[in-house]
Amino acid sequence: MTILLFVVLALLGMPLFIVLGAAALTASRDAQLDPALLIVEFARLAASPNLVAIPLFVLAGATLGQGGAPQRLVRFFNALLGWMPSGIAWVAVATCMVFTAFSGASGVTILALGGLLYPMLKNEHYPEKFALGLITSGGSMGLLLPPSLAVLLYGVVAQVNIGELFVAGLLPTLILFAMVGAYALLRGARGAHRHRFQWHELAAAARAGWADLLLPVGVIGGLAAGWLTVAELAACTALYALVLETLVHRTISVNALVWVAYEAATLVGSLFIILGLSLGLTNLLIDAQVPMHLLEWVQAQVTSPLEFLMWMNLALLAVGCMMDIFSAIVIVTPLLLPLALHFGIHPVHLGIVILANLEIGYLTPPVGINLYLASQRFKQPVLAVFRATLPFLGILLVWLLLLTYIPALSLWRSGGG
């Protein structure tokens, strides 16, 4: 009954952290536990060295966003891929993916790039529905690329090597890119004219944007080589972005830096308060021994790893409908990890499957942040946005099945499983 009340409040637009907080307080009372325990858990946000990386990467992302990285990225990918059949669609997907990784997959992509890419697609005579669906779903693709916050968070919670996770996410991201591009080729704009490829434009665009593009490469390189820890790498990234935009590109003045910090702090704040309270809720689940009982129950019901993966996908899709990605990672991972280990599933593979599942959750109502952001950004009813994303949802589901049942796609570097 109370759960229903909280769901209704969430649907009416109450901030999610308030709903989570109220739920956690109520559950504490029902379990006769001191609500101070929620804060004991919240304070653990300051215990994990990897979590330090998140605010710093967000700062880097905000700096790049303010400093014109979206424009430079669009220009570069346009010069690189614009000549291809349905080139602008490829450009849109590539840009969305890279920017989503920068901006922490919080839906910011739609706000930052929608204004650039949507008109571009429409100018090239792509159907409006196609453009809307592409950008809305593009806002979650790239979730597996470095330095995505979702991957960092999974690594922190599951205690999996973050560098290994990022390497594991490369091939799946590439496959998704190919799948969406292929769909655009078939369904997008057959009539859209193709651009001529121009070396000098590519060179100019690369000159303007190489420093931005170096970032994901540097992050994955640094992590894979193990020179720096994740948090150190995040600090370097933030400094790099600040130097790049204030001294090299000179697109950000000192006053604008305050604005950048404001943007970063509000984003970090709105994510971490949800995270902290999710930790409190998780502690209540542990107190009720839910993970242990779940393990026993699943061990009794499910016999094969394949069967387990199938049920896990279904459960995660349901979770993705109901929860935002950050609380979902915190709450779901500790429940699934022991089960997955029992069935011999590699924690890196598990991470890719969980994240791919939750990536889809961005597009599934009722809790599908990207649907609402796109509806706000493009002034379209949520239902229309949802209908436009349906084909892309289908592609994502096929992709999810591929990732789930072909572990080698994620584990080719980690040595099988």
Partner: protein
Amino acid sequence: HAADAYVLKFATLAPQGSTWMKAFDAWGKELATRSQGRLTVKFYPGGISGDEPDMLRKIRFNQLQGAALSGHGIGEIFPPARILETPFLFRDHAEIDAVRAKIQPVIDSGFRNNQYELLAWMEVGNIHFFSTKPLGDMKELARRRIWQWQGDRFIEAFLNANGWSPVALPITEVYTGLSTGLVDTVVSTPLASIALQWAGKTPYMSSQPMATGIGAVVVSNRFYAGLPADLQALLKNTGASLSQKLIADTRRDDLKSLGVLAKSTQPMAGFHMIDLAEQTALSRKAVSTLEAKGYLLAELDRRVETALTQHRSGKN
């Protein structure tokens, strides 16, 4: 009778299936049987309730009522007991047993005065260095990222005395830290290293033990005081035999683990050149620093010294 049923929620870092958890499980079953179901234990193993300081916070707010703690946790309750972990103080387990027998009443009342009832003393094994890298000589340790349990002032004093700069982390972050290179060297026991899966990340080990890690099974005073007298007695009685079993099992399995690791790891050569006299002097320095800060009790430390001298001269 619901009113007469007591549930002890009990946390430990020891994972399911480890030497310690097996003993705790048997203990829980014994409590349930002998109390005819009036006292049951719910276990939260494998660090699922967080680091030891987190467990103690949860005991403070009464989410948990008991825990199995290692030296770090004991240091948050009754730090002077950690004199028993002083590096290079004891030569063998017999010395430890003899000395501890002499000071056990002080430890018991130390716990009681700090809101805990000590049910069973235990050990976590012999402490060694484990590293992801080889060690040519001791000086290289200054450049190592040595894990220090966050908030552990005891180990900090010893690392400082040696001039090493540690990386402070909760124990729950060590496994990730070893994978990402945030730490490259840990101080741990063979048994714990295997149980916590650190051993797979650390192909180098110091062959000589430094000390024997202590541990304790505790319940909060509040929980203990709320029990009827017969259940209090039951906890105490089962605790005594649990302690014997835990110490014996740990010593046996730790030795076994050492054998396994000796085969699968390379020795940290630097430790072969260790100067015992110098190390003992450094330990003494760290102990007096800790005494000055009121972490260790000078009076108790003297008693330990006396008891040890007596034991060594065979007059105990």
